[in-house]
Symmetry: C2
């Protein structure tokens, strides 16, 4: 019998309780012994819950209970989660967390603390919800040089973009719909602005390449400026716009890491990942491309990932799992201005033919993109592979046009 | 330093050596200590190989060497692989195998032997080549009641079907092309006839549902009778024909397990798995649908899965991994005649209208499928969900038509 505590009885925390109770028999078999939910930390009381009577609003009841071996953190946010998790590890308890904000900001410190004390700190649910990704990535990494990892990591933005693409609904209306359906928060900025995807690619990149990538190091663009016109031009070119988090290893050992809306050709394995689903692509030297797909959020999928971690920690009490990475460094992530990709540009100008020819003199041959109702004073084209720096230079040197939008083309 | 031996220096075995040497630094880091290839069993000699001098044609050199802790079996086939693996386990060596024929036929016995002796027997490469599937499935299983697992498990047949669907090439020509490209064996029967996919769904079902499913218990149809006309009717209906291995749990605890060509609607996540790629769908109560996608065969992808298992066994020398299942039973797999699905039927008959109306009197409303050049004496339709038994009864009762083909519609 292993006693655990759960901190935070919100959507994920209550889902963890639900899964632990519902699949008790299976879980006991897998873990090798029964798991008892000893304490639940929440400032609210839940008299009708199946675990009523075990609630406490005092963290000290958990951290000072030597019988509790594993603590589950499903509070979310940095504070007080960071302090609580730190103190649990310092008190000799292994920790499972679903908290991407915490892991993306403090993962290296918490992993080091766990390593020093021969404890485990696992967080499968922090990326991709219920999709098993961190363990399989660790496995891919075992025998492969992984050189790139990229994915559709945020369900809310993917739902909004899917509605824009397939149902011709404007960004605002699609976001409204997402909120009505409960897919988007009332304050949707962390999702729409790309921060949630940023935290997740930080976690994936940290694990894949062995050094911590901090969210503030990653150039992050959201989807708030994507219009139905952008969607139509992308379609005409033969692709779809998705919010992509991507990290790839550069030859000098640094990382190219970015979150931005990108145009994926229809042939990409990630192009058909729609609605609130997530898809993650891992590229390794021996394995080639591997894609993981599933529900990236939601109470039960996320809870099922948390429970898998709990079981793993029960099986490894007193034995370290190998999941780990080192602290990062200020120069570890390359300036995004040096990141290379083809770009779809939309420009407003009087003489589109002349402007295109000037642009091609500087950049090389560009592919024009038009659809039936393209405005006559608008030029849309796809550039060769260039850096942001070069694009800024070229556009700066051609003052007789204004940029409507520029969107990267992903080679995924 | 852990000493290992490799039995069989064919495509996979030599790939394992290549990956171990190429990614040595990473692998040592992941395993926690260096891995030395001590012996390689092959009747041939490879004087130019980087491991020349370590070859032996005598199995006794491996099984009797107490310094060898882990043996990799990449011989393939049942004999002598079964005897060799059994003897290695009995001598206290953990084993990694890529051999689906061996695991599908004898997995329960070898897992029991490993369990008794506190050893590990791992075989990630036996299903899905380089795609991490057995470990993630084990993880999904930890917190979920998995109720269905299904997939495109054979790259050769998927290549042939992809060519028929996308390039309008006949079955024979597509198979020829696959052979020329090295995707199909000279004797392609194990692939084309479905046996390879059958072995893989046996392994997946055994792990997913905890009891061994033996290949001879699984009704297996190949793709050899699929014609371009079938492909066109499927397209007209809105789907593609894929060779599917599928296992689902029945309410009475038995399994519905089958390998057959099935029509997948275009909306299915498996419908876009093309060429030699594999895709595997896992359905659980908490997690929902999760899909794993990647190269299901090939030297390096398969070798990378073998190497991941080697590393795991190095990390768990003297400690059991939990991967395991029990022996099966004669009644464990239900008669496929009782398996239910909608069917696409193509029938030759004089009066198609009258025949359809007779059929609908017995089965309920059927959806007609026609395309421009449908022959006038041919009736193609999709039935409601029925059993094979019911279909056979109905067709038997209507002698005035002959069946051209019947293909299941998959709800995947």
């Amino acid at each position: 019998m292993v006693k655990i505590a759960i901190m935070g009885y919100g959507v994920v925390g209550s889902g963890v309780v639900e899964v632990l109770l519902k699949n008790k028999k299976n879980i006991t078999h897998k873990a090798g012994e029964p798991i008892e939910i000893s304490r639940i930390l929440d400032i609210r009381e839940f008299p009708d819950s199946p675990v009523a009577g075990r609630f406490t609003d005092n963290f000290e009841d958990i951290v000072n209970d030597p019988d509790i071996k594993i603590v589950v953190e499903t509070i979310g946010g940095l504070n007080p989660a960071y302090d609580f998790v730190r103190r649990c590890l310092m008190s000799g308890k292994s920790v499972v967390s679903s908290n991407k904000e915490l892991v993306a900001a403090k993962g290296d410190k918490l992993l080091a603390l766990a390593r020093e004390r021969n404890l485990n700190f696992l967080f499968e649910a922090s990326v991709g919800g219920g999709i098993p990704i961190l363990r399989p990535l660790d496995q891919c990494l075992a025998a492969n040089e992984v050189f790139e990892i990229a994915g559709i990591l945020n369900g809310t933005t993917n739902f909004v973009l899917t509605k824009m693409i397939h149902d011709d609904i404007s960004f605002d209306d699609a976001l409204n719909l997402a909120q009505r359906l409960g897919y988007a928060e009332r304050d949707p900025l962390a999702d729409i602005g790309g921060l949630d995807a940023c935290r997740k690619i930080c976690i994936l990149a940290s694990l894949a390449f062995g050094k911590h990538v901090y969210p503030e190091q990653v150039h992050t663009e959201g989807i708030q400026n994507i219009t139905l016109e952008d969607v139509k031009y992308a379609d005409k070119w033969g692709g779809v716009i998705k919010l992509i988090g991507r990290a790839r290893k550069l030859k000098d050992g640094r990382l190219d890491c970015i979150v931005a809306p990108m145009i994926l050709p229809h042939t990409s394995r990630l192009a058909a990942v729609n609605d609130v689903f997530n898809g993650i692509l891992v590229r390794g030297d021996a394995i080639g491309d591997v894609v993981f797909y599933g529900q990236g959020a939601g109470k039960l999928p996320t809870a099922s990932a948390v429970v898998a971690d709990i079981i793993d920690e029960v099986k490894h009490l007193g034995a370290r799992k190998y999941l780990s990475w080192e602290p990062g460094g200020a120069d570890y992530v390359a300036d995004y201005h040096d990141s290379k990709s083809a770009m779809m540009l939309r420009l407003k100008c009087d003489n589109t033919e002349m402007f295109k020819s000037k642009l091609e003199d500087m950049l090389g041959v560009c592919e024009s993109v038009e659809f039936e109702n393209s405005p006559s004073d608008e030029l849309a084209l796809v550039t060769p592979v260039i850096t942001q720096t070069r694009l800024d230079e070229v556009i700066g040197a051609l003052p007789d046009a204004s940029m409507i939008s520029s969107i990267r083309i992903a080679d995924l």
